[in-house]
Symmetry: C2
């Protein structure tokens, strides 16, 4: 199962026109509810992300993940020091890297980062999407979705409103 | 109050790559539930749409609306015969046409049609959006949303799932 858990604007952007993410956290959240993130993370075995997302999260202190992170990059020769047992570089096509990850016993995967999500969607390799819609129209930015060779059919199986404002919809891929 | 009530794909398209709409009605709906359409129509005083949407609905037999339809077009000289007391041509800027409609006593307006919705959003003239998401990624087509000069903030005040598949979210504009 390849799963997406991401915040987006109502018009489908994951970063604004300046590449900023601050609007994702601009709705007052006095009790700091996590909108299902911890529970989602419990259910996954590993994360899969691209080089750019890895560069962003590699600056976080402390390292934010308890699960292994697979970094997809055909450019990088190796990951920087300090991530042994945390992050692992993988090369190849999506099917090849998935085969390598499955061979290590990880099957429930958190597919993260805009470029990686769009690549997985283009290859129809996403089984579930939990999309937390911040109720803004940004009118531009980095899109969550991408052109597709053909239509992909999901079902919305759950919908929750948080903070009287944000809506989180869970979509499951229909049997292919 | 200017309201939108529209179906869209999860990736934000209101028509597919070929301009088709059949996918909007492709989820089995044996009891033909209307997903709130009749109730929404009861609450509005009039419709506002552009020339293209009018051309489409003008072919429907019987005429589908019990409320007056205002057709925005700076190109048309007049509407075709047969729509007296049904549809009314209005010219001018959005603010001018709204002033004319309000002067006739119509205040709760159903803003319909892709181009008209996008124009109203660009001018920050939409107060409520009820968006029924058909759980497909189309990967291309006619977008519901558009570039905006600045971010528009809404709140998601209601969310409903229909047919175990479709999610309808209601967004209200935050006080400007």
């Amino acid at each position: 199962m390849n799963k997406v858990f991401i915040g987006s604007s109502v018009d489908g952007f994951i970063a604004d026109k300046e590449g900023k993410l601050d609007w994702l956290h601009s709705i007052p959240n006095p009790e700091n509810i996590d909108m299902g993130y911890a529970s989602f993370m419990e259910g996954i075995d590993a994360l899969v992300m691209g080089r750019k997302s890895f560069e962003t999260v590699s600056r976080f202190i402390p390292w934010p993940y308890e699960k292994p992170v697979f970094v997809l990059s055909n450019q990088l020769e190796s990951l920087p020091d300090g991530f042994t047992d945390k992050a692992f570089l993988l090369k190849g096509t999506l099917k090849e890297v998935l085969a390598k990850i499955h061979a290590k016993g990880y099957f429930n995967l958190y597919i993260d980062g805009g470029q990686t999500i769009r690549s997985f969607l283009s290859a129809d390799l996403i089984d579930e999407m939990i999309i937390t819609q911040i109720p803004y129209l940004l009118g531009g930015g980095t899109p969550l979705f991408t052109e597709l060779p053909r239509r992909l059919e999901f079902q919305c199986v759950e919908s929750k409103i948080f903070l009287n404002s944000v809506v989180q919809n869970r979509f499951k891929r229909k049997p292919r």
